[in-house]
Structure formats: structure tokens, C-alpha cells
């Protein structure tokens, strides 16, 4: 405990130097990470080409996975978080959690706007949608005073 509560400047300096010494061998490592990032960018661009054999949704999942891998490579190596002490968790974990919660809190918005599935929308949503499918038609029917008020679908 005492060595933590009374850190000697000299010790810290020495530790700092040794850490820098470890980092020095890293130029080759950075180039490998660079090559990996280029390959991964090519991989997500591949989903755009006509040679992509799987469907759109597989492409989305693939691109998210590739993006997360690229992000981890940048964070770990270029931003040196791989070699940092435990303080890194103090900053990254709360920020990550708040980001995830923020996005999750937006999700009910989708739930409230959509009835069920991806195709049907609630009435409130339809009012402001770019292409309300059959509302004009329904209104025209109402204008003609047709008593049978069929659902537009």
C-alpha cells in the first residue's frame, strides 16, 4: 500500500520510460493494423458489389461486425488503450453504457410508430409519412358518403 500512497517521482519516471520503450517497437505493428483496416474497408465495400452472394440483411450484419472490428483496432492500437492502465475503464465504460442506453431509449419510438412488423404503420405515423398509401382514397370514399367504411388495406 505504501508504495501506492507515496509514489516516488523517480519510480514514476522510470515506469513511464519503460512504457515508452515498449511502445517504440510499434511502427511495424501500426502498419499491420493499417493493412487490416484497409482490408476490412474493402470487405465492407464488397457488400456493395454485385458479387456479394448473400442478401441485404446479411450484408448489414456483416458491415456492423466489420465496423466494430475496425473501431476496436483503432481504439486498441492507434489510441493505445491496449497498453493503458486501469483508468481507461473509468472513462470508456460509462460513456459506452450511456451511448447504448441512449440508443435503446430511442427504440420505443419505432415501436410506437409502427403497428406490427415493418410494413404497417400506425395512423399517427401515416399522417406524416411521405407516401400515405390509401388515405386520400379513403377520404374520397367518405366524401361520397359510402356507409361501408372499409379499411384501405
Amino acid at each position: 500500500m505504501t508504495q501506492f500512497s507515496h509514489p516516488h517521482d523517480h519510480d514514476q519516471q522510470a515506469r513511464h520510460d519503460s512504457q515508452e520503450h515498449i511502445d517504440h517497437g510499434g511502427i511495424g505493428k501500426y502498419l499491420i493494423v493499417f493493412a487490416a483496416l484497409c482490408v476490412l474497408t474493402g470487405a465492407s465495400f464488397f457488400t456493395y458489389s454485385s458479387y456479394w452472394p448473400f442478401g441485404k440483411h446479411v450484408a448489414w450484419a456483416f458491415m456492423v461486425a466489420v465496423s466494430c472490428t475496425k473501431a476496436m483496432l483503432v481504439i486498441m492500437f492507434f489510441m493505445h488503450l491496449l497498453w493503458e492502465a486501469n483508468w481507461k475503464w473509468v472513462l470508456t465504460i460509462p460513456a459506452t453504457f450511456m451511448s447504448i442506453f441512449l440508443t435503446l431509449m430511442l427504440v420505443p419510438d419505432i415501436g410506437w410508430r409502427q403497428n406490427n412488423g415493418f410494413a404497417r404503420y400506425s395512423y399517427e405515423r401515416l399522417l406524416y409519412a411521405p407516401d400515405p398509401p390509401a388515405i386520400e382514397h379513403a377520404e374520397a370514399e367518405a366524401a361520397e358518403e359510402e356507409m361501408s367504411h372499409d379499411s384501405p388495406h
Binding site: 500500500m1 500512497s5 514514476q12 511502427i27 475496425k70 492502465a85 483508468w87 460509462p94
Partner: protein
């Protein structure tokens, strides 16, 4: 006995920068999260070519940013070893690569602006659907053009008259037979004549979203295919509308989901471009400093910021260009 640590085992500047970065993570997470909610909750979303997005250009810009991330990390390594000239060289290279990124971005923005796709009203020509308001907006623009070109000769008046006839037909059909599909089909044909969907699937998508009556889809596809073809640009082979053939017309255009797309695209890329710009300003200021071992912390801090900007683009590129 309990004792306090005086500080984190890193320089104060780095602590501050990481605190700032954690707020930035939440800032961009909010923006990207909102984009995802809007994009996947939207009833219609434009295909990339409908809004002049070029995937190869986006991929090139991704490559440029990755390169700049490498050069700034090499600048840090050089600064740590007090190789001041080398450090400055890599810093200059990073500055240039960031400039290339912004230049490409400006070119991409210009592509959108030249087709009337703006984030806000005064210049924007994009309408969500070909309804009565759209037809009225076309008529308004035609009237403005007529007063503008009263002195001009016949060839300029010809496209105006051609479009005017379509506007009249659409409005008549909408007014006389409001219950019939004919008005909406005519308005759709008008929109396609002015600005045809550049993506071949867009008509089918519009039909799936309910924008076009099923019975009209075949007719609209034929209409789209009979339009004059364009041979030279990157989306070669797409039908050329009046706005392509006569750029001075600048008639209102119809892109389902276009206004929402423009808002989110310009907001996300705009905030990212602002971050790039801030980084470039700091790089430019640092060119006047000797980047030796004593300044390595400074290089590391701006490097961390720059990697974060790269990180945001890593997510923006697939989301905006490839999804």
C-alpha cells in the same frame, strides 16, 4: 491507513482530452442512434443513386482518413524520439490528407446541391411525394421561369411548354376525378419526367410502399425506360429527366424519403466535417511548434482526437453509403 491518489497516472491534458472524448462518444452515439431510428422507421428511403451518393468516393474517403490516422501515430512516434523534422513531416502529411478528405466532401456536397438536394427549405427542391402540392410547386416554378425568360427564344420555351402540359393534365385529372388513380399516376409521371429514379428498383420500391397504385407500376416502368438515356456519368444508363437535360429549369423533384434523408445526411456528415476542420486547424497551428520529446504529449492528445474523428467515419461510411 487510507490514502488518496493525487491524480490519474497520466498527464492532466490527456485526462481532459479523454473526458472530452467520452462526451463526444455520447454526442455521436445520439446522432447515429437517431439516424438509425429514423432510417429504419421510415416508410420510404431513397436508394443511394437517387440522391447522388457514390459508394466508391465514400470508400476512397474512408481510405484517406485511415491513412491520416497512421501518419499522425507515426508523427507521435517520431516526436517521442525527438526526430523533429520527421514528426513535422508526418504532421504535414496528416494535414494534407485531412484536406483531401474535406475537398472530396465538398465535391460530394456540390453534387447534391447541383441537383437541388439541400438540408433546408429556401434552396431545396425535394418533395416526398407527387401530390397536389408537388404539382402546384412545379406550376409555380414554371410561372417564375416564364417571367424570367420572356425575352428568350423558342428552344428555351419548348421544355417549359412540354412540362406545363403535363402539369395541366395532372391537375385536371386530380380535380375532376379525385377518387380515381389517374391523377396520382399523372402526377407520378410528371415527377419521373422531371427527375427519374436513378436506381432501377426505385419504382418497385415506391410501389411496395404504396406510393404508386399496383396497376400503374408497369406503365411507369415503361415510361422510365423510354426516357432519354445518359451515357457518361458514374451512374451511367439512368434515364435523363428534364432537370438533367435543362439544368436551368431547377424544377421541384420527387424523392420518396428524400427530405428526411437530406436532413440526416447533412447533419451527420456536417458535424463530422466540422470535427475534421477543427483537427486541421490544430494541425496547422502545431506546424509552428518544434515537435520534440517535450511536446510528445501534445501530439498524443491531438492524435487521440484525430483517431476519434476517424472512428466516427468508420461507422458513418457503411451507415450512410452502403445500408
Amino acid at each position: 491507513m487510507f490514502a488518496y491518489q493525487p491524480a490519474l497516472p497520466i498527464p492532466n491534458g490527456k485526462t481532459c482530452l479523454w473526458l472530452f472524448l467520452s462526451t463526444e462518444i455520447m454526442f455521436f452515439a445520439g446522432l447515429i442512434g437517431t439516424y438509425i431510428v429514423l432510417r429504419f422507421g421510415a416508410i420510404a428511403w431513397p436508394a443511394p443513386h437517387d440522391v447522388h451518393l457514390s459508394e466508391p468516393i465514400g470508400a476512397f474517403n474512408t481510405f484517406v482518413l485511415i491513412c491520416s490516422s497512421v501518419t499522425i501515430v507515426l508523427a507521435l512516434e517520431a516526436a517521442k524520439m525527438s526526430q523533429t523534422t520527421k514528426a513535422k513531416g508526418f504532421l504535414l502529411l496528416t494535414l494534407l490528407l485531412g484536406g483531401v478528405f474535406l475537398g472530396v466532401k465538398a465535391y460530394e456536397y456540390q453534387q447534391k446541391f447541383s441537383h437541388g438536394i439541400y438540408p433546408t427549405k429556401p434552396h431545396g427542391l425535394v418533395h416526398d411525394k407527387a401530390d397536389l402540392y408537388y404539382v402546384a410547386a412545379v406550376r409555380q416554378r414554371l410561372n417564375d421561369l416564364r417571367t424570367e425568360f420572356t425575352q428568350k427564344n423558342e428552344p428555351i420555351r419548348k421544355p417549359i411548354d412540354e412540362i406545363s402540359k403535363m402539369v395541366d393534365d395532372a391537375e385536371l385529372a386530380m380535380r375532376n376525378e379525385p377518387a380515381s388513380e389517374q391523377g396520382r399516376i399523372k402526377a407520378m409521371e410528371l415527377a419521373f419526367a422531371i427527375y427519374p429514379p436513378h436506381d432501377h428498383n426505385s419504382v418497385a420500391h415506391a410501389a411496395a410502399a404504396g406510393a404508386v397504385p399496383e396497376s400503374a407500376v408497369m406503365r411507369l416502368v415503361a415510361f422510365q425506360q423510354n426516357a432519354p438515356q445518359d451515357g457518361e456519368s458514374h451512374d451511367a444508363g439512368h434515364a435523363q429527366g428534364f432537370n438533367d437535360r435543362y439544368p436551368w429549369l431547377r424544377l421541384p423533384i420527387m424523392i420518396p424519403g428524400g427530405p428526411l434523408w437530406a436532413s440526416t445526411y447533412f447533419l451527420l456528415t456536417g458535424f463530422h466535417a466540422l470535427h475534421v476542420l477543427v483537427g486541421l486547424i490544430v494541425f496547422a497551428l502545431m506546424l509552428f511548434i518544434t515537435l520534440d520529446r517535450a511536446r510528445a504529449n501534445l501530439v498524443e492528445n491531438i492524435g487521440l482526437y484525430w483517431h476519434f474523428v476517424d472512428l466516427v467515419w468508420i461507422f458513418l461510411f457503411p451507415l450512410l453509403y452502403l445500408f
